[in-house]
């Protein structure tokens, strides 16, 4: 019981930090870092639930694998976009990216 709670608390705090970072950073790469942290927090929660509530159901671990895949993919595509943007505008600062202003 105690370990589960600990893990969950950790997950919660990491999520909060990651959210703060994703919203407050101007650079695209930093935003991606925040997202990574959030995903990491999710993974922690998942593993904790698998380990302490249903260790014999491996779908939990499967979920974690998927989340890891998503992390990787997100980084891939994100950096691809960053490259493209950098090539077009010369910077990846999100403050200047108001092209879709309505």
């Amino acid at each position: 019981m105690a370990t589960l709670t600990v893990a969950l608390i950790v997950g919660a705090v990491l999520f909060g930090i990651g959210l703060y970072g994703a919203l407050s950073q101007t650079n695209l790469v930093m935003i991606m870092m925040g997202v990574e942290l959030m995903l990491g927090a999710a993974m922690v929660n998942l593993v904790a639930f698998w380990r302490f509530l249903h260790p014999e159901v491996y779908a939990g671990q499967m979920f974690v694998l998927i989340v890891m895949t998503v992390m990787a993919l997100e980084m891939t595509v994100g950096f691809g976009i960053a490259t493209g943007r950098f090539r077009a505008k010369g910077s990846v600062e999100m403050e200047e990216a108001g092209d879709l202003k309505g």
């Binding site: 407050s24 935003i31 999100m94 403050e95 202003k101 309505g102």
Partner: protein
């Protein structure tokens, strides 16, 4: 009876046909009056054989309309028919150069029909209606020349004078019908006492107005602005006769006191208007004053107790005066005006017309053998035989003198001077009518005894009155021929010329106050009108204000709505900043909301 009513129906049919067909007016009028003449002749013949006709028509409840053909009414009807026919014959010639034939002949026929109805009336209601109708016809006929202001004012004056006097007739009829409960004329004469006196005086008022007696004599002068056939028909023989006819028919009603007043009024009028005639400078106005004077004679005779004398004089005067007027009309066409200045020598150039004029003119004061003398005799005989002869006789003698004087003056002014040779259109028709009337004037004397027998009156032979009368006539003729009016009248000339107006005359006493009252009432009416209009305008203003408020209100609402939506849109637009971090924030908020919804189980 039906043939007798042809006297009314003939002219009436002529009116209707003329107005419907609008052509051949003169022929239709001639036919109508000829039919009337036939009817009147038939009625008179019937009277001679002792027949009496009567007819009752539906009228007011309890007061049916009656037509009565008895000797008196038959004689009068024949008079009107004969004069009417001859004047229409004359008018065919007179109107050859004038416009408005349809109007004129229709109006003359209408007048004749109304006059016949008045003469044959057997009850007061029909008489009153006919009385009013002849007043209207007179107005229409005098004002015939629509473009002459003198004609319009003359017609209005005539109408106002006679209409004011007609109030007397209304009041008298009221008294009589209320007193006896029936409107049949002979029956109402049974009312006695003060009602009879009152009725008699009121009838005198009405008669004085219609017959142009003093002080109501002014209108006849101004009525001469109408065409001459009108003057000949209406204002010598028929319309002005209506007053005398009224009094002759009402003779059985009048008590002795009223008769005295009647006689004195008549005599005074004869005198005053005789002076007026002497001072006139226009032939027709002279003849008009003469008409008033002669009717004064008739009233004098009536007052003296000789209704037959009045009737005889009426019949004779009708022929004489219309002949004189027709002659005046002929001279008017020849010279273009009726003022004596323009007519000098007209007698010389149209001698046959002048002859007719002379015959009728001499008959007027009573020169034998023309018929007028016998009528004058009757009048004078009545005057001499009356109870108050001391008042009547001098008036009669003086009146005869003046008559001779002004006739001689007129004849002299027409004869003296150079004759110009001017052709006159329609001379043959005019001459025919004039000639017939002149012949009548000359020969009526022979008809008087049979007339008297018919009416059951006695005629006296030549008596004292005849002698005095003849003497006065000759004296008057001589004086009038040789002495000028200025020397005759002296200081009275100006007054006489203007017609002896008293106290500002009719204008000052009646017309102007009436018009002033009318103006005040008109202002009052206008103010009411303005109030009504104001209410209407108020309604309109209220409508406009409501519409304005409506528009502004609704417009304001709509623009407020539009503004609000636009502002809201602006705010919403701010969400779409295009900046990634803001959108991320929105995504986070949205996700939290969804999570909440899912968690609370909605």
């Amino acid at each position: 009876m039906i043939t007798a009513t042809l006297t009314i129906l003939g002219p009436l049919a002529a009116v209707v046909l003329i107005l419907l067909l609008r052509r051949g007016a003169s022929a239709l009028a001639l036919l109508g009056t000829a039919a009337g003449l036939v009817g009147a002749g038939f009625a008179l013949a019937g009277m001679a054989n002792g027949a009496r006709y009567a007819a009752t028509l539906p009228g007011l409840p309890g007061l049916p309309l009656r037509l009565v053909v008895e000797p008196l009414t038959a004689v009068l009807s024949a008079l009107v028919a004969v004069v009417g026919f001859l004047v229409v014959v004359y008018a065919v010639g007179y109107m050859k150069v004038e416009d408005g034939k349809v109007r004129s002949f229709a109006q003359v026929s209408f007048f004749l029909a109304a006059m016949q109805a008045l003469v044959l009336a057997g009850d007061w209601v029909l008489l009153l209606a006919a009385w009013e109708l002849i007043g209207v016809s007179s107005y229409l006929l005098i004002g015939f020349h629509l473009d002459r202001p003198a004609a319009a004012s003359g017609a209005a004056r005539a109408f106002l004078y006679t209409r004011s006097a007609d109030l007397g007739l209304y009041a008298a009829i009221f008294v009589l019908v209320a007193g006896t409960g029936t409107s049949e004329i002979p029956a109402t004469f049974d009312v006695g006492g003060p009602s009879a006196t009152a009725a008699g005086l009121l009838l005198l008022l009405a008669a004085a107005g219609k017959s142009a007696q003093a002080p109501l004599h002014g209108w006849l002068q101004d009525a001469m602005a109408g065409p001459t056939p009108v003057s000949a028909l209406l204002h010598s023989a028929t319309l002005v006769a209506a007053g005398a006819i009224l009094l002759i028919r009402a003779y059985p009603l009048l008590p002795p006191g009223v008769l005295l007043v009647v006689g004195l009024l008549g005599g005074l009028t004869a005198l005053v208007t005789g002076l007026v005639a002497l001072a006139q400078t226009d032939l027709k106005r002279l003849l008009a004053a003469s008409t008033s004077s002669q009717y004064g004679f008739m009233l004098l005779a009536l007052g003296a107790g000789g209704p037959f004398g009045a009737l005889a004089h009426l019949v004779a005067h009708a022929a004489m005066k219309s002949a004189l007027f027709l002659g005046a009309g002929f001279f008017q066409h020849a010279r273009g005006s009726t003022a004596f200045d323009h007519l000098t020598g007209a007698g010389r150039e149209h001698r046959r017309v002048f002859l007719g004029f002379v015959v009728a003119g001499l008959a007027l004061p009573g020169v034998p053998p023309p018929g007028g003398v016998w009528a004058e005799d009757a009048v004078l005989a009545a005057a001499f035989g009356a109870e108050d002869a001391w008042a009547f006789v001098p008036l009669a003698i003086l009146g005869t003198l003046l008559t001779g004087a002004y006739v001689a003056r007129a004849l002299r002014l027409l004869w003296r001077g150079e004759g110009r040779d001017t052709p006159v259109a329609g001379a043959s028709w005019m001459g025919a009518g004039l000639a017939a009337l002149a012949v009548l004037a000359a020969t009526l004397g022979a008809a008087l005894p049979p007339l008297a027998r018919l009416l059951g009156a006695e005629t006296e032979g030549l008596g004292l009155g005849a002698v005095f009368g003849l003497a006065a006539t000759l004296a008057g003729l001589t004086v009038g021929w040789y002495v000028s009016p200025g020397r005759l009248l002296g200081p009275l000339r100006g007054l006489a010329e203007s017609g002896f107006r008293i106290g500002g005359g009719f204008d000052g006493l009646v017309a102007r106050p009436a018009l002033a009252t009318a103006r005040v009432l008109s202002v009052f009416d206008d103010s009411i009108h303005a109030v009504v209009l104001g209410v209407g305008r108020l309604g309109f203003a209220a409508g406009r204000a409501s519409r304005l408020a409506d528009e502004r209100g609704i417009d304001g609402l709509i623009s407020a709505l539009v503004d609000g939506v636009r502002r809201l849109g602006g705010r919403a637009r701010e969400l779409q900043s295009g900046l990634v971090h803001k959108e991320l924030l929105l995504a986070v908020v949205g996700a939290a909301l969804i999570f909440l919804l899912l968690a609370t189980g909605l």
